[in-house]
Amino acid sequence: MPEQTTTEESQATRAIPTYDANILPDMLPVYYRRLFPHLPFYRWLSYGLSEDSIFCNREISFTLHDDIYIRYLCFETQAELEKEICSRNPYKIDIGPVMNTKPKNFRAGGLSPVQRELVFDIDMTDYDDVRTCCSGAEVCLKCWKFMVLAARILDQALREDFGFEHILWVFSGRRGIHCWVCDKQARHLDTRGRGAVAEYLNIISYVNVMGTNAARCQLGDRTHHSVKRALKLVEPLFEEIILEDQNLFGTPKGLSKLLLMISEDSARNELESYLQKTHEDGAHSRSIWESFVRYANSMRTSGNVLWSRKLKHIVEEVQLCLLYPRLDINVTKGFNHLLKSPFCIHPATGKVCVPFSLSAVAKFDPTTVPTIAQLLHEINAFDDKTKMDQEAPEDKSRIKDHKKTSMFKGVVVFEEFLRKLERECNQSKSSNMDF
């Protein structure tokens, strides 16, 4: 028996079709009809109908074939939304804010956002200068570690500092992650509030040094607790990610990145000649880093003015510059910003934008996220199998389609998130009714 299953499995793996963007239009109708979690999706955006018009005034936008972009859509009921998605089969669904009136009446004017989840977008391309394994749209397990760390730091800050609890993490379909903070207070932050939270969490700035952008962050005399906490997460992984996996300082170009993070010209030149003296070209990052740390420490303890004042925290600063989350803060700041919905299909990769749980983020593998082609294959295989096994077609319909596929885990994460969210929404609803 066990042998049989293995052969079956290997057959199934061999048969997994690769994704072909050209047949996406043929696959989307099946995906939306059978797999897209319409009900949970509605449960999310309706927030237990805890506030007036919270669902029906929400702006949704669809991207159809040939980049046709339809904005200001809105829906009264779950059935209407589902029907519209299934008939239009959008390439992409974006979620905007809840408006003061129905967004579809936008031509009448006076449309303004009332609430919207606080969102964060971290994109792997912003890490291109610190990864050597891939570049651009590619992503592998090595560079995914940047994302893992970024998500952890951000999640911890949102929970501990701001007291937010309902945080949904979503893989963006190719090389990035999105974060949706859905607490009531977060949803009701105004533009100023969003700006403040975004700036609070954004500690890195960029300066242009000789034509290349260098990351800089400045720790003062005392280090803010949120930065200190981030450092505690960054430090243990620095060696693994930067020195081993990426071997970032292993090339002259990589080494110059380290040097550019030093803001003082004279100190930079001294360090450069020191490192050149002690190392051959192409020395391993680990030994370069060790020398750098030793050099910085000895300069500091020997009372060098630059190194003991302005560059006092340079070792920590470099670590943060390389590993602290690189946020696209304009996404967070904008009350009006549209963001791609979870469970969309990324048109270039065919991958599902699946939610993932932060506690298991290290195990999340972006390279094995199921593609739409694979999912359709899986439901078919499942259906065939049950047909053969039981010859009981009415039984099949009882199992939800997404449970038959590798998308299952993502839906479970989403439902767990919803369960907690709804508990709170119902509480606030009933407490509203009491008064």
């Binding site: 509030g193 403040a196 009006n336």
Partner: protein, 540 residues
Amino acid sequence: MDFHLKKRARNEIKVEVVSLETKYPHNVMIYNYPPIDDIQIEEFEDLALERLRLLRIFDHAGAKGLRLLSDDWKEYVNAELSREGLRNYLRLCTTSGANATGAKHEADIQTRRRDYLSHFILRLAYCRSEDLTRWFIGREMEYFKYKFSALSGPEIKQFLEANNFHFQPLTESQKDEIKDGLYESTAGQSVTKIELLDFYKVPFTQVLDLVRGRRCYLNAGYAYVNTHDLVSIVGTKQQDEIEQGLQAAKLLIDDVEADERIARMLKALHTSYTGKDYTVSREIAVPIESLDQLSKTSMPLCMRVCHEHIRTQHHIKHGGRMQYGLFLKGIGVTLEDSIRFWRDEFSKKMDVDKFTRSYEYNIHHNYGKKGSMVNYSPYSCLKIIKEMAAPGDCHGCPYKALDQTTLKSKLTSYSLSPSACEEIMYFVSRGHYQFACGKYFMLTHNSQTEVAINHPNTYFEESQNLMGNRQKRNPSSQASQAKSKIHQNLIKGHADRSMLMGQDDDELWRIAESQERAYQSQKGISEAFDDDLDLTEIVD
């Protein structure tokens, strides 16, 4: 607002005369209740102009690059207040009101009244457009913070009580529990000071400016702030009041302006401030063929950098397109020319179809021809300096964004002498970017007169004036232009969005973002499938 009430009150007999002392009990007041006094039209005008002079002082201080409430800043503001004959306001800002007696006290109360009334009058003049509103709130808040900073401990307490702020300081044991966080994260106070100070627990949304700068301890959605930080909370409240007041004023503006005398005055005030309004493009069209030349002679560094980037890279990211595109509109490049300019460059890297689909909308949008139909203003220096450049961007203020070595070599490559570079770098290293820009202007134009650069379009205009290419705009045409703008605003008030803090760009960001993504993803598709579409033609 007041004017309704005023008209009605005219025929009523005043039953109760409230003393000015009870009405204006403090030097610092929250502007929450619109005044219902009767005042003469002359006084109305008088107050308005006085307030304007006051606020302009803060504007100049900011433009000089002085840090708010720093010693230099105070010195400058105090000197200007005396020079402008605003000594009574100087007293409000620098002396504690409680100690004054007799005639001095009487005078202070009169100033408080003028302060209160004039603020509300200016609301009527500054609620008209987003730019005006932003300017007004910025200056008002600087003034407020200055006044608040002069209050003594007991006065602060009195103020808080009078305005229904109820703060309970943490008990010693509560403070002890979080002392590590307070030590690490309370900015601007030494550890020994922190031990002595009272701390208060407030929702983080009340002290957003402290949150933004990571200047306080934050835990579970609450900020822990000390007595010195209370100005932040009170300031937030004041700002909310002013913002809401401006919104309300905007709805009433038609009624107010039914009175011809007031309308004339308010409109004149408006033009007497704005002076430069670059939203509407100028009468002289600038041909795009002249841009290469102009970029060398008359564009400030921030625009020259963008221009050169486009010419060499044939692409520029969204932030740069906004900054440079709106600037071009401001100097008089027509919509048609603008599209031609961007298309010619971008199509060296992508096919024309792609450009039309992904970027043309944006240009139309900037000219107010698509989408929200708002005619966007070119960015001012303040906005450009505030922009954060990300990797691969070339917008923002080069004096701030470039590191000093790079900046120096850039200036040298524009054939500035080493000593000239040093003169510019002097300001750069002190963070006075606009001064640096002004210096650059003087050096490149061989001009001896100092120019204050607050707007890239001002730079351009000044340069053109100096070179004799352009007449100074005569005031009458300017006034009529402004007038027609007011008219526009009144007609389609809804198109003029009233929110603050750069929300005007939201829609653009969104569109640009999604289009950029779409472009990226398409690029991704073609890369993934080795489709040799137009990508082979990319020349780098």
